[in-house]
């Protein structure tokens, strides 16, 4: 049985490699991940970049390194060249008794202020421990906008699993190869699992790659995989149903696209609805998956909450499965 499932999987991968649309589906998340990384470079960066002189006092350099990303240069000329490059870098060089702050002029105001403040604090010898304020943190360590984009990308990738399955089913239907499989010892369950593996594994791998590209390699991978696999199940069911219901590739793609609606709705609901109204989204498994991923990506997730979310996804998926199962069985025979 296992051997046969593997065969179905390997054959599907082979076909996928030779199918343009399938390749596109596989590479879209990776391209999008690159796009997010390229076009939102500042999103990940809350630190300020400073350029200092190597000849500066070690105490100054050390102090600055605690609060900013510090680059060191040989002389004033190199420092100025660096400042004039495109990104926001503020140079601080010793001058007389004090310091001189060198700006290109177009830097973000916050960056300017922050650098100046930081230098002043050094000059008066202040440390974080000197503060009289109590510190209250929400624990967010990753900027929310980028997390949101990457989370959306993960949702999309999960959906692509369904698209891959639908595509592969439509092709099997068009070529009538399902009938040929139905007169072998391969069981229908084996067929379904083998096909699911293709969509599931391909999109899991895509998610992992996308998270690495976008700089989320520090997340709890076990949680990522757990939420990924559970939310994938629904996508797979939808893929099977749509694949069996559609007569060609275009129709299947259109049908699968229809589930963008509840997904988009769930994301918008999660991001925009106030806590009081969040319950209105509880019906949607995509909501729970998105919620779990949001916490995982912003590194605030704990196991009980993640398990609750995946549990909800599973229960809702199971409900869909029982509605869809007769359709899938019938469609495959």
């Amino acid at each position: 049985m296992l051997k046969k499932i593997l065969r179905i999987f390997i054959r599907d991968i082979k076909s996928t490699k030779r199918e343009q649309i399938a390749l596109y589906i596989v590479f879209a998340p990776i391209l999008l991940a690159v796009a997010i990384t390229l076009f939102a470079p500042g999103l990940n960066d809350t630190t300020v970049n400073l350029a200092l002189l190597k000849s500066d006092e070690p105490a100054h350099i050390e102090y600055m390194q605690q609060f900013a990303k510090v680059e060191l240069y040989d002389d004033l000329e190199a420092l100025e060249t660096r400042v004039n490059k495109r990104d926001d870098v503020v140079a601080i060089a010793p001058k007389g008794d004090g310091y001189e702050i060198v700006l290109q002029g177009n830097e973000n105001e916050i960056v300017q202020t922050y650098s100046t403040m930081l230098n002043s604090l050094y000059e008066i010898g202040a440390t974080p421990e000197d503060t009289s304020a109590t510190i209250m943190s929400f624990g967010k360590t990753v900027p929310p906008l980028k997390t949101m984009l990457v989370n959306m990308l993960v949702s999309l990738t999960v959906m692509l699993a369904g698209m891959l399955i639908a595509l592969s089913i439509v092709t099997e239907k068009a070529e009538n190869t399902i009938n040929a499989l139905n007169v072998t010892p391969l069981s229908q369950t084996g067929f379904v699992i083998g096909k699911s593996m293709t969509g599931g594994l391909v999109s899991l791998v895509s998610i992992v790659i996308a998270l690495f590209i976008t700089g989320y390699s520090g997340v709890n991978w076990l949680m990522v995989i757990l939420v990924g696999v559970t939310s994938m199940l629904l996508s797979l069911i939808i893929g099977f149903v749509q694949g069996l219901a559609s007569s060609d590739v275009i129709e299947a793609a259109t049908n699968v696209k229809m589930i963008f609606l509840p997904i988009a709705g769930s994301i918008v609901g999660y991001e925009l609805l106030s806590d009081k109204w969040q319950w209105t989204m509880y019906w949607s498994p995509f909501y729970w998956a998105y919620k779990a991923n949001d916490m995982i990506l912003s590194k605030t997730a704990d196991w009980p909450t993640v398990l609750l979310c995946t549990g909800m996804v599973l229960v809702l998926t199971l409900a869909v499965f029982f509605i869809a199962r007769p359709k899938i069985r019938k469609g495959l025979s």
């Binding site: 076909s15 092709t171 190869t177 009938n179 040929a180 007169v183 010892p185 391969l186 069981s187």
Partner: protein, 284 residues
Amino acid sequence: MISVKNLSHSYNKDETKAVNNISFEVQKGETFGFLGPSGAGKSTTQNILTGLLKLQQGEVTVGGFDLKKVHNERFNKIGVSFEQSNVYGKLTAKENLKFYAKLFDVETRDPDELIALVGLQGKEKVRAGEFSKGMKHRLTFARSMLNNPELWFLDEPTTGLDPAIAATIKDIIREQQKKGTTSFLTTHNMFIADELCDRVAFIIDGEIKLIDTPKNLKLEYGKKLIDIEYVKDDKIVKETLKTVDEHDKKRISEIVNAYDIRTMHSKEATLEEIFIEVTGRGLV
């Protein structure tokens, strides 16, 4: 090997039956033919026997397995060649066969050897999507032999193939017969039925009209026929008449006496003519 009792099938699950209350048995080692025109219900019957269509009504056992129960392992002993070829266009001929072979639990034949057997040598590494219809059909046919089936289902095995290739396919089937393979073969081609089948069932409108060996059928129904061409009103007229029929005999002497005879041949009836006589309809 196959036992069918009172099998009926309706696609719309109503009174219109694609197969209507048919019964027959196929013995071990026998090649059993279903001969009938397009739409007679041949493929429907084969699809029920191979489990592709759900058994609705009737008692059917195939290779000792009751079709009412699910036994996927029975397919280790069964080979199926489809009327419409169905192979993976994105895979090469050889990849198609290799993939399929892995789905069986029994020893399978060498894909290269089978590809050569159906005359596709040199095309092993060509994707099936680039094949002509006939080539795909041959690949589908070759695939049905992968698991050395004891029971072989052949739906229109030579239809749409050019005569030379059809002859190759016939030779392969004969070869398998010698090895003792039991075959269920459907065709609307009387020559195929005549040449390959031990017994033939005439099927039309979902009903079996008779079952017998081609030889018996010819003995029983194949009364001697005479084709006569004669000239009447400056035109050539052709008639086929039976030498054993009183009315026809009179007609023959009438023609011989009254007209100028061009040609006159006696011949044995073909299966098609017998089919027409039994069912009242032709094979197309």
